[in-house]
């Protein structure tokens, strides 16, 4: 079933369609939020995103443009959370859970490096990089979600690529990036 059909059924008030919509989009939303926040806060913010989505869904005019609309809400929720926390003292470091074993452990380490590199980027650059490369949104959709012109998205992407490259080079990944 297409996303648009699912959204239309939700707008009509079909409860099973709402459940299916959440099941379909929960993981992409959580993954996006997780790239910007730690796991615990990602859970909270993801729930806030879904409450906002449900409240706004009846007013969504273009049902075929659900994904950019959804990520606009997610981005706003993340920004609100970060804005609220910037004014507070930094939290204590959370203990890391024990990692998986064997190859899975190596994969997790690689992923941790990548997530670490992403986390090192400024929020704006990390945001646009995640939307463009990891969520596969077009430049136009990224611009819509971030509320900035396409040119600004391009410049943020350029800066994000450069910063990511510099960070990974410092970590010893230079030959793999070349």
């Amino acid at each position: 079933m297409s996303d648009e059909l699912l959204v239309v059924r939700c707008q009509l008030g079909e409860r099973d369609a709402l459940a299916e919509l959440v099941r379909t989009w929960h993981k992409p939303v959580w993954t996006y939020v997780r790239r910007m926040l730690d796991a615990e806060r990602a859970d909270d913010v993801t729930q806030e995103v879904w409450v906002a989505v449900l409240r706004g869904l009846p007013r969504l005019k273009e049902s075929g443009r659900f994904a950019p609309w959804l990520f606009t809400i997610a981005r706003r929720a993340v920004a609100d959370r970060l804005r609220a926390e910037y004014a507070q003292p930094p939290p204590e470091t959370q203990p890391q859970p024990a990692g998986p074993q064997g190859d899975a452990f190596e994969a997790a380490l690689d992923r941790a490096e990548l997530v670490g590199a992403l986390s090192a980027l400024p929020v704006r650059e990390r945001d646009v990089l995640a939307l463009f490369y990891l969520e596969d949104f077009s430049l136009e959709d990224c611009a819509l979600i971030c509320g900035v012109p396409v040119g600004t998205v391009k410049s943020r992407l350029n800066r994000a690529r450069r910063l990511l490259s510099e960070h990974l080079t410092r970590k010893g990944y230079g030959h793999e990036l070349a």
């Binding site: 009509l12 008030g13 459940a19 990602a42 993801t46 729930q47 009846p58």
Partner: protein, 148 residues
Amino acid sequence: MNSPDDIIARLSPVLSPWRRVGGLTALIAGLAGAVALGALWLTEPEPLPDRLHLGFGLLLALCLVWAGYGGWVLARRTPMFALDRVVAGWLAVAASTLTAVFLAVVGVVRDTPVLFVVGPLCVAVAAVVTFLAHRRRNALLRRKAELS
């Protein structure tokens, strides 16, 4: 990560039909009560003592507060899907028709022709809201049929 089913369970209060029914009842009853009380107050033939003016004013304010609360719940706290809006529209038509009948009776008893206009105006507003709700729902049903 919370599972999708966890999220769905936590969203249940937002989707509760009772919250929608409560908000709708507060909005419609508040508005109908405010119009009816306002009509009685403004068309009172004899001069009223101050205490009665105060009573009317307080009751009118109470009705408006309930209407405002209901409107806030429906606009901000709970989603109104297409079918909900159609049901809400018909309830508004029923309530405004009763209010119009009440206003017509008051208009006859107190010889105030303007009340014959206010009642149908309320019904017309409710009818327009219902028409728009039906139009939106029909458009969504057509789109659903196209996509299915």
